[in-house]
């Protein structure tokens, strides 16, 4: 509530006379489930009413589950509704001039959540956003990224992260990502299973310079950690009727891989993108192991192969491939279909000729920065062609550079073919991002991984068979478990490792975690349920993406919707309604789509057809989606890299 603030008289104000009383980020990670709250308390000390902006960034893939707003004691609370229903309510309110949207937009690997409220002089406003996300293990660590951009000096500034990991915490590291300015301000305390990270700069420490009135706090606060891993069979955590199985074995030799790099060298790659791609490829080629086989395909409107077949990654071949890639000059169109079909042909032929080690892992890595412009242009046909030509034991990984590429499409063909996709941004760091992605898939340790649980005791198990397990990552399986009638839960994981078959058994007392969880006041007692919901919804969304029939798609949509409503999470099929107690003022927050599909590319400021939501809304709560920014300049991301998804014309 805005009524319980302390003394607000000594706030530092910019010219706009808006004071930031406090800016707090509180995050609690319970067994990889992060619950984050961002709260801003502001006051309008000007003699006129003005817009106050709450603009925060939420990691992509996080589920927003609550947003509240308090304007001088009048509270707006949120609820998750089916999208059509939410929009109907929103339209009705809008017709009465009592509604406004919250703008959510995509930006790099974060998503913006922004709202503006017109606040009368002397009034206080408090925003509070809650979201949850599952922290995925990448390159042997969990990384929790919190965007901290208060925009101005805050009287009370605090980022507080608590980590509770029943498996035990191996290390906690907080890189100095906010800059040298904040050296030594972060405190880390680490116990066996709990850790606490606190960043609490004073107002003087926040200042860019001793006499500056602007804040130096602007960036990502990053917490990295890993957990102890004693067993190869993974960790079974059972609590409140759900189980989570974390599987990340180490001490295994890598499986040999057969890898085909398919690189877009069309004209659009010219310049920095190509330079960075060449740099990354040279580093990637150097890291191939002697047991690996590889080849390179570069394509524009034509498709060329460095070698027509897979060759062993000997130092001489690697050097030759590096010379080849160095000599590439991008030009021409983009024939993705032909390039991918050529790659699958090479893999198929190698397999037919018995040249692939039965224990090896075969994969294609596609690097592209744009849509097809030559040959087959229809994305669904390309998807179908690739799926038909890819054997079950091959996987496809896609790297989409920049925003001119249809990332949804890359994600679809990757998941359709047992792989994954990642967007990299066409900037100075492209090379590092590409290498980073490659490193995630460069060390296959296991293949054909199957998780088994006693059927009579578990239900609603998430995906339980996996094509590959890569070193440094983690497989997570969840399900419901009948803890009432069960004392122990057993799992048996089978997998193929380099030169051996593995069968791993894990047995856990279903009440083992109870004592630990009940003792910790910060631990989220619903973490198993939320992780299960998170995995299930994501899995259903992936299934929906590749569903072959409309009927199946509809059924999956229905299930996703039900899950979203049951678990209070915003998905593409739901929206969050924010209402005041009287329910006569409504805001709507939809989930944004991929920027390529956004409605209004390149528009962040006023749009000519923007509805005038202000009309009729009382001055004390004049909620508007029109982003008239009163925040410092650096808060707005570059217009060209963004598109926004406005509810009015979504």
């Amino acid at each position: 509530s805005t009524s319980d603030w302390g003394y607000v008289g000594d706030l530092v104000e910019d010219d706009d006379k808006i004071g930031l009383y406090s800016y707090k980020v509180q995050s609690t990670i319970t067994s990889r489930l992060a619950n984050t709250m961002i709260q801003a308390k502001m006051v309008n000390n000007a003699k006129r009413p003005q817009h106050i902006v709450f603009d925060v960034q939420v990691p992509k893939g996080a589920f927003i589950d609550n947003f509240t707003m308090d304007i001088n004691g009048i509270t707006f609370t949120s609820s998750i509704r089916e999208k059509a229903e939410a929009r109907k309510m929103y339209s009705q309110a809008k017709a009465k001039g009592k509604a406004a949207g919250i703008v959510r937009s995509n930006a790099l690997d974060m998503e913006n959540f922004k709202t503006e409220v017109n606040v009368p002089p002397g009034m206080r406003i408090q925003f509070e956003l809650h979201y949850q996300e599952m922290i995925r293990r990448k390159l042997s660590s969990y990384e929790h990224v919190i965007s901290v951009k208060p925009g101005r000096l805050a009287k009370h500034m605090e980022v507080d992260v608590r980590i509770i990991e029943p498996q035990g915490i191996r290390y906690v590291h907080v890189p100095n990502s906010l800059g040298d300015h904040f050296d030594g301000i972060t405190t880390i305390s680490k116990g066996e299973k709990k850790a606490h990270v606190s960043f609490k700069p004073t107002m003087a420490q926040q200042r860019k310079c001793p006499t500056c009135s602007s804040t130096a706090v602007d960036g990502n606060f990053v917490v990295q950690y890993d957990v102890n891993r004693e067993t190869t069979g993974g960790e079974l955590e059972i609590f409140n009727g759900y189980f989570i199985h974390f599987f990340a074995p180490e001490n295994l030799d890598p499986l040999p891989k057969n890898i085909l790099f398919v690189i877009d060298v069309s004209g659009s790659m010219w310049g920095l993108k190509m330079k960075q791609t060449i740099e990354a490829m040279k580093a990637i080629l150097s890291e191939l192991r002697a047991a690996d086989q590889f080849s390179l395909i570069d394509f524009n409107h034509n498709v060329r192969c460095w070698r027509d077949n897979l060759v062993s990654a000997t130092p001489a071949q690697v050097e030759d491939a590096k010379k080849y890639i160095q000599a590439i000059h991008p030009n021409g169109g983009t024939n993705i279909n032909e390039a991918l079909l050529r790659a699958t042909f090479i893999l198929n032929e190698a397999q037919n000729l018995g040249m692939l080690d039965p224990n090896s892992v075969s994969m294609i890595v596609l690097v592209s920065d744009g849509d097809p412009t030559v040959g087959e242009l229809k994305l669904t046909t390309i998807q179908k062609n690739v799926k038909q030509s890819m054997k079950d034991e091959f996987s496809l990984f896609c790297l989409g550079i920049g925003f001119d590429v249809d990332y949804d499409f890359l994600q679809r063909i990757a998941t359709d073919n047992r792989g994954m996709a990642q967007r990299v941004f066409g900037n100075q760091e492209t090379s590092a991002q590409m290498k980073n992605f490659y490193n995630q898939v460069s060390t296959p340790l296991l293949k054909k991984i199957q998780f088994n649980y006693p059927q009579e005791s578990v239900s609603d198990v998430t995906q339980s068979s996996f094509h590959n397990y890569f070193g440094g990552s983690e497989i997570v399986v969840a399900g419901k478990v009948d803890t009432e009638n069960l004392q122990h839960l057993e799992s048996i994981v089978t997998a193929t490792a380099a030169n051996a078959e593995l069968v791993m058994e894990t047995l856990r007392d279903v009440e083992e975690l109870d004592g630990f969880m009940k003792k910790d006041k910060y631990a989220d007692p619903d973490f198993t349920k939320k992780l299960w919901a998170y995995l299930t919804v994501n899995q259903m969304m992936a299934e929906r993406n590749t569903a072959p029939t409309a009927a199946l798609k509809r059924n999956i949509t229905k299930s996703i919707l039900q899950m979203s409503l049951d678990h209070h999470i915003v998905t593409p099929f739901t929206a969050m309604l924010i209402e005041n107690a009287e329910k006569d003022e409504i805001m709507l927050a939809d989930q944004p789509k991929d920027p390529r599909r956004g409605c209004c590319p390149g528009t962040l400021g006023l749009t000519p057809n923007a509805p005038n939501n202000n009309k009729g809304i009382p001055a004390w709560a004049n909620v508007t989606a029109v982003p008239v920014s009163f925040m410092p300049e650096q808060r707005s991301p570059p217009v060209s890299s963004l598109s926004i998804n406005r509810v009015d014309n979504d």
Binding site: E230, T231, T232, A500, E501, M504
Partner: protein, 244 residues
């Protein structure tokens, strides 16, 4: 380490101790016929007691030459090596590794069984001690069933008993203590004085063990084993025993 040799035909158990230096590797089985080697590397207690440093098996190596497979078991991990590749499980795992009809079964914090088809099996037991114990350390025990189909060429501290020697024990008489009678044992052409006593088999009760009545051969099994115990020291964990 202490050895208990069960002789099925004569239904007798013969025991002996071998105390060498930490780091030394003792050959337990060396069978050029089947290509199987089992060696044990010694570790020492944390400190001496009564001016004596006890040694235990801290690492056991199995080499199945015909399959090209090696298994290394320490008090921390269990590793299968096949050429340059390897797979490691820890004693916190329960699981199986299957490779070329070799099955390694790990029972969490308890034992590892290595089976080669129907022909052979070995069991390694983990003995964990309190980690802050001033003297004792974790160690391993190994159990080799007499039914294992080793070839007549098998040798080693245990392997040599795959072909059971004739053993006569007679003239049982009171010893220094009533529970430790003495007797005369004739074996391999040697006449030895042996002491009756108890040793422990930990297969069924890993904590307290089950007492086994046996005849103890003094001086590191001298006279019962072929040659001297030092003849069984090998340079590497996977070395075959060289014939003298």
């Amino acid at each position: 380490p202490h050895f208990i040799i069960h002789l099925p035909k004569s239904q007798k158990n013969i025991c002996f101790n071998i105390n060498s230096e930490p780091g030394k590797i003792l050959n337990l089985v060396s069978d050029p016929g089947t290509g199987v080697v089992v060696n044990g590397q010694l570790i020492g207690a944390k400190k001496t007691q009564n001016k004596k440093l006890n040694t235990y098996f801290g690492k056991i190596g199995f080499y199945f030459k015909n399959k090209g497979l090696k298994v290394e078991i320490t008090t921390e991990t269990i590793t299968l090596k096949d050429g340059s590749s390897s797979i490691t499980l820890t004693w916190s795992d329960t699981g199986h590794i299957i490779r070329k009809q070799l099955l390694i079964s790990v029972k969490k914090e308890s034992n590892v069984t290595i089976s080669v088809g129907e022909e052979m099996s070995f069991m390694v037991l983990l003995h964990r001690v309190w980690k802050n114990h001033p003297v004792n350390v974790d160690f391993l025990g190994i159990y080799i069933p007499p039914e294992n189909q080793l070839s007549p060429a098998a040798h080693g501290l245990i392997g040599q008993f795959a072909s059971e020697p004739e053993v006569f024990i007679y003239q049982q008489r009171p010893g220094q203590a009533p529970e430790k009678p003495q007797a005369t044992m004739e074996v391999k052409g040697n006449k030895l004085t042996v002491t009756g006593g108890l040793q422990k088999d930990y297969r069924t009760d890993r904590v307290h063990g089950t007492e086994v009545q046996c005849w103890f051969v003094h001086n590191s099994g001298k006279g019962f084993i072929d040659g001297h115990y030092k003849d069984y020291l090998v340079p590497h964990l996977y070395s075959f025993l060289k014939k003298p």
